[in-house]
């Protein structure tokens, strides 16, 4: 078990290393001089040369990578060209928006999807099942950022319940901040929930045929109790797997949603870095997002051990 964990951990570190190398190489090998891109066309040769030196562009590729990586490992992500502050600080500041947003979206999507999927499976071919199927099909097809626009149209413009965008900051009060994040989180959650609903339904249907459920019913548990106490927990492995796989799309959705709702999060930072040609910030944000996706998927792998005790023997986990 411990050896397995160590092997997984080494794999995680290697993957992270490979991602950092990939991002660095893409940024380094793409045509175009970062210094020229960052300064624009009007820069003089002297400023260009100065920036090139400051960025270390005159040094060999491998050295530049190792320096960047070394910095990242010590929490030094370099300096933003536009803001003139350390990128690490920028990212931490923006995380205070993106992390709660993502967490709320995941929470909402689970709260919608699990009850809906379980009910659909329990009352197969009933009305709820039909509704869940339609929701699953429609939800996957709807872009999260369009969902955001529709929610703004409905809740902000028509009903006036929520702000149409912007973020007051956590210092404005916990609930005011939460209120501002509610609509964007819902926009992110609905497409996610549709995928999860489908997976939950399928997983519960699979479990419903199992012997242990018949045993649970035989020992006198009601249908409902057997469903929630025995079927649902056993159906959670594919649901959590999908939650992990979907995390990449959640990140992509967050980048878009933050721009729809004008939220000062990491996605907006990446977008601003793109329009300001702040390549260092972009490289770091992309690395951060990719690392997040990898770590989340690693945690999902680990969570199987907790969700499914049978896997703890380690046989199915090599």
């Amino acid at each position: 078990m411990i050896i397995l964990m160590i092997r997984r951990l080494v794999g995680l570190l290697l993957t992270l290393l490979a991602v950092s190398a990939l991002i660095f190489l893409v940024m380094a090998l793409l045509p175009g001089d970062p210094a020229a891109i960052m300064l624009g066309t009007s820069a003089s040769a002297d400023t260009l040369a100065a920036l090139r030196q400051q960025l270390g562009l005159d040094q060999p590729l491998l050295l530049r990578y190792l320096q960047w990586l070394g910095g990242v490992l010590q929490g030094d992500l370099g300096r933003s060209h536009t803001y003139g502050v350390p990128v690490a600080g920028l990212i931490t500041e923006r995380l205070a928006v993106t992390l709660p947003l993502a967490a709320m979206a995941i929470l909402l999507s689970v709260l919608i999807a699990v009850p809906l999927g379980v009910t659909a499976a329990a009352k197969r071919n009933g009305l709820v099942d039909l509704a869940a199927t339609l929701f699953a099909q429609a939800g996957i097809a709807v872009p999260a950022f369009w969902m955001g626009l529709l929610l703004i149209l409905l809740f902000s413009m028509q009903l006036g319940w929520t702000p149409a965008g912007g973020f007051p900051g956590w210092h404005a009060g916990f609930f005011a901040a939460l209120h501002a994040l509610l609509l964007p989180a819902l926009a992110l959650a609905l497409p996610q929930a549709s995928v999860l609903t489908r997976v939950t339904r399928t997983a519960v249907l699979d479990v419903l045929d199992e012997d242990f459920l018949r045993a649970a019913r035989a020992k006198g548990l009601s249908r409902r109790a057997a469903l929630w106490r025995h079927a649902v927990p056993n159906a959670m492995v594919p649901v959590v797997t999908m939650l992990g796989l979907q995390f990449t799309f959640l990140v992509a959705g967050a980048v878009l949603i933050e721009n729809v709702f004008n939220l000062p999060g990491l996605g907006r930072l990446a977008y601003q870095a793109l329009s300001q040609r702040d390549i260092i910030v972009m490289q770091d944000v992309v690395l951060f997002f990719a690392a997040l996706v990898i770590v989340v998927n690693f945690s999902v792998d680990l969570s199987y051990l907790w969700l499914d005790p049978r896997l703890r023997s380690g046989k199915a986990f090599s």
Binding site: Q137, A141, P143, F145, V255
Partner: protein, 286 residues
């Protein structure tokens, strides 16, 4: 879809679930392809022609679907956008599927270190969403058709590699492969003659589903200004521009999104329908 139980067999609900998705999907996609092709030779108005006097007119008042903030005809823009969206999606998926399937076949044929390295590589690429890789590409080579295509295709390669490896490995365990090897055929020939024809089904299903995802991603990219540069109409940019006029012209925010959603829905329904046909055991499953 599901509902193979005797209680539901023969009811309208069952028949609808069985044949409805594929038929609906095909209708939607034929419509999309038709509109896209027609837009190449005819649109009600030139899609980028501005008529400021006629700006922000609601549907039916000017043109069938109204006009935008520059007085451009929304229907014409949607039609031209359909072509841009569909062509980018097709290119991206063709590229991604082509590369992914070849890598997948090679991995299934040779296994070993190649497999470990490729699968780790898939994890790595899969960790960078296309929005972010498009941003990296866009910073250097600028936004445009190929930035979008490369970003989307890059993300599709690991998807198709995984699908191919999974399906092809099963084929490699079969007796007829053993027979082919006994006949002296090498891995290349076996992959081409025996493995590929037997895994075309799941690959086609994946192609349709990924086409939907590609349209979704392209809309997101052009929403951020990473797709086709103006004045080429694109659904994503129409949505981005609509944000300023949400109150005055809500149809500008609704219609392009509807176009995206219906296209993606069409491809997904075809994918589901095909999966049911090709692999009845999967019926009603994820």
């Amino acid at each position: 879809m599901s509902g193979a139980g005797p209680a539901t067999r023969g009811t309208t609900g069952f028949r609808l679930r069985r044949h409805g998705p594929l038929a609906t999907g095909l209708t939607l996609i034929l419509l999309l392809a038709g509109v896209a092709l027609v837009s190449l030779v005819w649109t009600p108005f030139p899609p980028s022609k501005m008529q400021i006097m006629q700006k922000l007119k609601p549907p039916f008042e000017v043109g069938l679907l109204g006009t935008d903030q520059y007085g451009r005809d929304v229907l014409s823009m949607l039609m031209a956008g359909a072509w841009n969206s569909l062509s980018i999606a097709l290119f991206a998926v063709a590229l991604g599927a082509g590369i992914g399937v070849v890598i997948g076949l090679a991995v299934a044929a040779w296994r070993g270190v190649l497999e470990t390295v490729t699968m780790r590589g898939c994890d790595v690429i899969f960790a960078v969403p296309p929005i972010l890789s498009a941003m990296m590409l866009g910073a250097f080579i600028g936004p445009g058709r190929w930035t979008a295509i490369f970003a989307i295709a890059t993300f599709m390669v690991p998807v198709f590699t995984r699908i191919t490896v999974g399906a092809a490995r099963q084929i490699w365990t079969r007796d007829f492969i053993l027979a082919a090897r006994a006949a002296g055929k090498g891995p290349l020939l076996i992959s081409w003659q025996h493995v590929l024809p037997n895994i075309v089904g799941p690959i086609i299903v994946q192609v349709t589903i990924q086409l939907g995802l590609a349209i979704l991603t392209e809309a997101g990219l052009s929403f951020l200004g990473l797709g086709l540069p103006p004045p080429a109409p694109s659904w994503g940019r129409m949505l981005a521009e609509s944000q300023t006029f949400l109150r005055a012209a809500p149809w500008l925010a609704v219609l392009p999104g509807l176009a995206v959603a219906l296209s993606v829905l069409g491809f997904n329904l075809i994918g589901d329908g095909l999966r049911d046909r090709l692999d009845p055991r999967q019926r009603g499953r994820a």
